[in-house]
């Protein structure tokens, strides 16, 4: 009888001790099933593969000289800090934004050139969502008499194609190029927007 009681006590003690196994306040090793998520071999930060580089789909521009770069530009009232000189500083992460529409951006080329293409760029980053802007181009050799060379047209800007549009025109002599914006479908602005305007 005593033996049975003793055995019962031993069994109870063993059973009671089960929940204590692995309690981490002790130095016992805690049974662990571990998953180690491995890092790939890399030598530098890369573009995530799920977002293929869209640059090969960018609308190409002429490889000739951009006559607008760094030249004098004149426009009306700009929004906030988005001044006109941003439009030909060679950087697409700065931009000009007019305070309302219509808006004109006049580029004084400083000399007379034969031009055949005007490119209008926005920041190509994907957070610059697709939008349309209605744009016309007028040119002049004397800054007084202007001639329409590209009538107003609703152009599609899309980061998938570089957020840029290309306006090809009949080759014409120009010392002044006026780019006229009459519509912008972007939801965050009431004005025209351009990170760069290039003249080739």
């Amino acid at each position: 009888m005593m033996m049975k009681k003793l055995l019962a006590c031993i069994a109870a003690l063993i059973l009671l001790s089960v929940p204590c196994m692995g309690i981490c306040e002790t130095d016992h090793e805690i049974p662990t099933i571990v998953t180690i998520v491995r890092a790939p071999d890399q030598e530098k930060a890369e573009r995530p593969p799920c977002f293929p580089d869209p640059t090969e789909n960018y609308i190409p521009m002429p490889e000739t000289e951009n006559y607008a770069h760094g030249k004098k530009v004149v426009s009306g009232v700009h929004a906030d800090v988005y001044v006109s000189k941003n439009v030909n500083d060679g950087k697409t992460d700065t931009y000009w934004e007019s305070k309302g529409l219509p808006a004109e951006m006049l580029i004084e080329l400083g000399d007379t050139y034969s031009i055949s293409t005007v490119g209008v760029f926005l920041n190509p980053a994907s957070i610059w969502e697709p939008r349309q802007q209605e744009i016309a181009v007028w040119v002049s050799t004397d800054g007084i008499e202007y001639m329409e060379v590209a009538p107003a047209f609703l152009y599609q800007f899309d980061p998938a194609t570089g957020n840029r549009i290309r306006i090809d025109i009949e080759t014409v002599e120009a010392a002044f190029v006026k780019v006229i914006f009459t519509k912008n479908t972007a939801t965050r602005t009431l004005g025209a927007q351009a990170a760069e305007i290039c003249v080739y």
Partner: protein, 487 residues
């Protein structure tokens, strides 16, 4: 006797064999642990070494800022941070070779965890059995405090074969920006460090999830010449959006931003920032947002609601840990009508189960209605402030609670004023203050018409003492306040 011995042996053998069946299999008992290698382009911190159940973790050094006053050219410092996922129990071991001195004491916060770490030969050891955010303070100094994000195991992982799911795996990645459209999911795996920003504009049914890090360290602070704000999570005119599980570090501006958006849930998102205007969770003119189980250590307001283009309604912050190195912990304002809208309101806001680990600069609880909004039905429930260390700005804004109806440098509507009505603070506990005394609180209405009314405080305990009258609470009221009570 011999028979009895045999019986005993047989019984013990039987019990030994039965044990796994009685108590479950070894797998059932085992802790499930997921750890993430850091990118091979990066090195684990030399400041802290951390292991979990014997497995070494990759430790990141992230920007924080110990300057507790605004400085447009402030320079952040760094502190260690690490993370893992688990279910069960884990033992965490920490050594701090980069602390510059021996570890002689350690404290794990929030104090509500009730953890008493052991220190042996400079190694800090403690155990946890519930997921959460754990911060370890060494030698009673906030310098090099270690943030440990112990996530629950991942569930509801998206289907990577779904064409609407973008999967970013472990490793270091860079991309100018990620724009998500309707019905898209972005998964950032644990072990990933993504130098980018995520924009959700005019979109619906969007999910951002995973365990990885969105990192802004590539960019200068947004207010520096040539830089601009690159908001890690930017929701704009969107609805039905969820953000889960990720870490945001080293942002060059504010962090989780939502503007004119609706039906947004944010869960288990951890923000650590040390640069200019590094607000944590900041919502403007939003409705129906629920933020749960999150962490915000910030160098500007941690949780902040404003009106930019309409009213704010139905915002819940629940079970959040806050560490505010600059500005306020829970701020409504200052801009309450930046969009100059008709009849702007901020209403139906709940801050519940909020633990403020440290609040170094301005008030812990604040409503600065500095435009013309009607701010009403605001509830603060079970707010625990472990360290209310408000140093203020030149003697101002040192209060524990501050509610005002005055113009400020952030006002848009300067000739009209609003009101504050029906505010409940139910459960406010302060463990520690800068000078060991009860900090002041301030209520300031504007005029006879624009008043602060019906603010009820109850279950307030400061420095271990129940507070049951306004005088003991050091509450100052001007003539344009009514029914400000404490019980």
């Amino acid at each position: 006797m011999k028979r009895n011995c045999m019986t005993l042996l047989l019984l013990l053998l039987s019990i030994a064999l039965l044990l796994p069946a009685l108590s479950g299999t070894a797998e059932d008992e085992a802790t499930m642990l997921t750890i993430y290698e850091g990118p091979k382009t990066m090195s684990s911190s030399s400041v802290a070494s951390v292991s979990v159940n014997g497995y070494d973790l990759f430790v990141y050094d992230v920007m924080v800022n110990h300057e507790h006053i605004w400085n447009a050219n402030t320079q952040p410092t760094r502190t260690p941070m690490t993370y893992f996922d688990f279910e069960g129990k884990v033992q965490i071991k920490i050594s701090m070779p980069g602390l510059g001195k021996d570890v002689t004491s350690a404290k794990v916060i929030p104090l509500s965890y009730g953890i008493e770490p052991k220190i042996e030969n400079g190694v800090v050891t403690f155990c946890i059995d519930e997921p959460g955010q754990y911060t370890v303070i060494f030698n009673d100094s906030v310098n090099k405090a270690l943030h440990i994000f112990a996530n629950p195991l991942e569930t509801d992982v998206p289907d990577f074969n779904d064409p609407n799911v973008f999967y970013i795996g472990p490793g270091e990645w860079v991309m100018d920006a990620i724009a998500l459209a309707d019905n898209q999911t972005l998964y950032i795996s644990g072990g990933a460090v993504v130098h980018s920003i995520i924009s959700v504009a005019n979109a619906k049914n969007v999910r951002i999830c995973g365990r990885g890090i969105i990192d802004g360290s590539d960019y200068p602070a947004w207010n520096q010449a040539g830089s601009y704000a690159r908001v890690p999570i930017d929701l704009n005119h969107s609805k039905d959006v969820s953000v889960e599980g990720i870490i945001i570090a080293n942002s060059n501006c504010w962090n989780v931003n939502s503007y004119s958006s609706k039906n947004v849930t944010i869960d288990n998102v951890k923000v650590i920032s040390g640069r200019q205007n590094g607000d944590g969770f900041t919502f403007q003119s939003c409705t129906d947002h629920v933020v749960t189980n999150c962490f915000a250590r910030t160098w500007d307001d941690s949780l902040v609601l404003k009106n930019y283009s309409g009213s704010t309604k139905g915002i819940t912050f629940r079970n959040i840990q806050i560490w505010t190195d600059l500005a306020q912990s829970m701020e409504i304002g200052y801009e309450t009508d930046k969009g100059w809208t008709l009849d702007p309101e901020i209403s139906d806001v709940l801050f519940e189960d909020i633990t403020v680990l440290y609040n170094f600069h301005k008030p812990v609880i604040s409503i600065h209605n500095s435009d013309d909004a009607y701010v009403h039905d605001i509830v603060y429930r079970n707010i625990v402030v472990e360290n209310a260390m408000m140093q203020g700005d030149n003697g101002f804004n040192k209060e524990l609670i501050e509610m005002t109806l005055q113009n400020s440098q952030w006002s848009t509507v300067k000739d009209e004023f609003g009101s504050i009505d029906n505010v409940l603070i139910d459960g406010l506990t302060v463990y520690n203050t800068a000078n060991g005394k009860v900090p002041a609180s301030r209520f300031s209405g504007h005029n006879e018409k624009h008043r602060i009314t019906n603010v009820a405080m109850r279950n307030v305990n400061i420095l271990g003492n129940p507070i049951q009258d306004l005088k003991t609470m050091k509450v100052s009221l001007n003539d344009y306040c009514d029914a400000i009570t404490i019980e």
